[in-house]
């Protein structure tokens, strides 16, 4: 009995919100829980969860990478332009396209990591700057226009099927598995937690704080590049507004997944849940006929509510534990 109670208590508020949401839409929206729609939800989760994977690492450090949306956009547009150079696409072209995407992501990650990790500049400043550089570059190189209609072979990356499952879901699953390993099973992952928890402690224990921070941002950049591939191949178009708001969705996925904004607590497993939650909510809202505008408002409200819930909850917990210490003493 007690164990059940403890289990219920250990579930974060966002999980309850998720379950409620599913139940609500299952009744409100026709075909919400159909296999096809669930696949739809997972498809639209694929790029987001990859983007949020990098964001998770940075937030676990207690920082934020605002640039992911901009990086995704510039990576996708440049890759799109490259693909547009050819009439017909070969496998080699696709490989090069992939490389371009990842290289641009990593390049931005390197810049962020260098400035924040090694030179200790404020992460807001830097990632804000690189964010606007990313979007701005994309606007510049495309001349404000939109590229669309890519080769089907390239689009197979996201829209193909293997055993009846969309390829973008499969890629996302593979990337998730790797990130889970990195997050929970490697030194790098543990050191990220250590820095987020207590940087001084990590430093005094011989953790290479600079290097770890540097690579967290590089990883975040790489993930933005990979997400760009998935998104580009799925939406079949790229422009300077492609990634707009993606950084917000990524942060939301991480926070809804139970990772604390001040670092050291949570992890990528929760983020996967958070990303699915966001896609499921958007999808449901769409099914019940609410406009994009409403989706945006509600997403903002839900995120604010979840963060509020967690902040207030932890305040109450702190107070309680203080009281406990005090009453133990007497």
């Amino acid at each position: 009995m007690n164990r059940v109670k403890r289990l219920i208590k250990s579930v974060p508020g966002s999980t309850w919100a998720g379950i409620l949401l599913m139940v609500f839409f299952a009744f409100a929206a026709k075909g919400y829980l159909s296999e096809r729609n669930i696949m739809n939800i997972l498809q639209s989760t694929s790029a987001l969860v990859v983007l949020a994977a990098g964001m998770t690492m940075v937030i676990l450090l207690g920082e934020i990478d605002m640039s992911v949306g901009g990086v995704l956009t510039i990576a996708a547009t440049v890759t799109g332009m490259y693909l547009k150079l050819y009439e017909t696409i070969t496998v080699a072209n696709i490989m090069i396209a992939l490389l371009i995407c990842c290289a641009i992501g990593v390049a931005f990650g390197l810049l962020n990591g260098l400035l924040i990790g090694y030179m200790r500049f404020n992460f807001w400043l830097v990632t804000f700057g690189t964010m606007s550089m990313g979007f701005g570059l994309a606007k510049g190189v495309t001349g404000g226009g939109v590229l669309s209609g890519f080769d089907t072979m390239f689009r197979w990356i996201s829209t193909g099927r293997v055993f009846g499952i969309r390829t973008c879901i499969i890629w996302a699953a593979i990337i998730c598995a790797i990130v889970i390993f990195v997050n929970y099973k490697t030194k790098f992952g543990l050191h990220i937690y250590a820095i987020g928890d207590s940087e001084i402690c990590a430093q005094n224990s011989g953790v290479n704080v600079k290097k770890t921070r540097f690579f967290a941002y590089v990883l975040s950049g790489l993930m933005a590049g990979l997400a760009a591939v998935l998104l580009l191949a799925r939406t079949n178009s790229a422009g300077a507004t492609l990634g707009e708001g993606y950084e917000f969705n990524a942060i939301a996925a991480v926070v809804i997944g139970g990772t604390a904004m001040d670092g050291g607590k949570g992890g990528f497993k929760g983020t996967i849940f958070g990303a699915i939650f966001i896609s499921a909510m958007k999808n449901g809202l769409q099914l019940v006929g609410l406009s994009n505008y409403w989706q945006q408002v509600l997403l903002g409200v839900v995120i604010l509510a979840i963060i509020l819930y967690d902040v207030i909850n932890s305040k109450i917990r702190d107070k309680k534990s203080l009281r406990r210490v005090y009453s133990d003493g007497i």
């Binding site: 400035l115 807001w124 606007s132 550089m133 979007f135 701005g136 409403w294 902040v311």
Partner: protein, 327 residues
């Protein structure tokens, strides 16, 4: 000898932004044909009257919140909603004063909500204002259903009969803010709270109120910018302010605003705003298409960060030199 040299260095460090502004101005004037311009349609006068007022206001709003150690990422959305609400009132009542009051109240209200979320609930300023940005942006889209409002000529006439009115109003707001934050006890309290909230509270300063008022002030400034903007454009659009937050941030940083609370100076908004305006316009005259402006803004932020660090280093060196002498 050395003493004089140190004085010169510290003067250069202090005035570095003004020097950058003057240099940019001179470079563009000398190397482009039309940047300065002549007569009534002079390009410089034009940007001073048409673009600079907005950049200055944006930077000002951001800087006020940065004095408290915070940030307001909802400035863009706030401009959108306050101007849109004003336009709606103008459309229904035709009464300009009602429109202006509504716009200002909406701006201040959004600011107060931000302030409460930060000061009382304890959300990090970034989280509170960034969520607010999304909520408000979405809300305007819902209200407008994506359409724009235009045709409020009577209202426009108030601001457009004299070309200098935008600049005059923005400078008036700037001076008011400068007076409040640099000359009064309220301003001192704000700097105390920004530098060290708990020491402020323990010195009998109501730090929560101070923080809320700072966000309210930022909301007010954003609303003023919004009201002027629709007068200039002749239309209120639901996506009006989308790129303004970034612009505000860039101008504030270039104006010397610091993330560490209690350090930013209000008058930095003037310099920061002007540098951005001159840079953006000058680039166009050099032949860089306007479409690259966003990228330039991002680059400028990164460069500003670098310069800031360089200045700090110089200042430290300079100080050390002085100390050694006094020892």
């Amino acid at each position: 000898m050395g003493f004089e040299k140190n004085n010169v260095i510290s003067f250069i460090i202090k005035g570095s932004r003004v020097i950058v502004l003057v240099l940019l101005f001179l470079v563009f004037t000398i190397f482009t044909k039309n940047f300065f311009g002549v007569g009534n349609s002079s390009n410089v006068v034009n940007i001073l009257l048409q673009t600079a007022p907005f950049e200055i206001l944006l930077a000002l709003g951001m800087i006020i919140t940065m004095i408290t150690g915070g940030i307001d990422l909802s400035i863009g959305a706030n401009i959108t909603i306050s101007s849109f609400m004003c336009a709606m009132v103008l459309q229904y009542t035709g009464n300009s004063l009602a429109g202006i009051v509504t716009g200002l109240l909406v701006g201040i209200t959004i600011g107060i909500i931000n302030g409460i979320l930060i000061a009382f609930v304890g959300l990090p300023p970034f989280v509170a204002t960034y969520s607010m940005d999304w909520i408000v942006k979405g809300a305007v889209l819902v209200i407008s259903q994506g359409g724009q409002i235009n045709g409020f000529d009577k209202y426009r006439a108030i601001f457009n009969t004299w070309r200098g009115s935008y600049l005059l109003i923005s400078i008036a707001v700037l001076i008011l803010a400068w007076f409040l934050y640099s000359k009064t006890t309220f301003g001192k309290k704000t700097y105390f709270v920004g530098a060290n909230p708990s020491a402020g509270e323990l010195s009998g300063i109501n730090s929560k109120l101070i923080v809320i008022l700072a966000y309210a002030a930022c909301g007010f400034v954003a609303a003023v910018a919004g009201l002027l903007y629709i007068a200039k454009l002749g239309a209120a659009e639901p996506t009006l302010g989308n790129s303004f937050t970034m612009a505000a941030f860039a101008a504030a940083l270039i104006g010397g605003a610091s993330f560490a609370g209690g350090k930013s100076r209000v008058l930095g908004a003037l310099v920061g705003g002007l540098i951005i305006v001159v840079l953006n316009n000058g680039l166009i005259h050099i032949g860089v298409p306007g479409i690259w402006q966003d990228f330039a803004q991002g680059l400028v932020i990164i460069v500003a960060v670098f310069l800031e660090r360089l200045m700090e280093k110089l200042q430290e060196k300079n100080k050390k030199g002085n100390n050694e002498k006094s020892l």
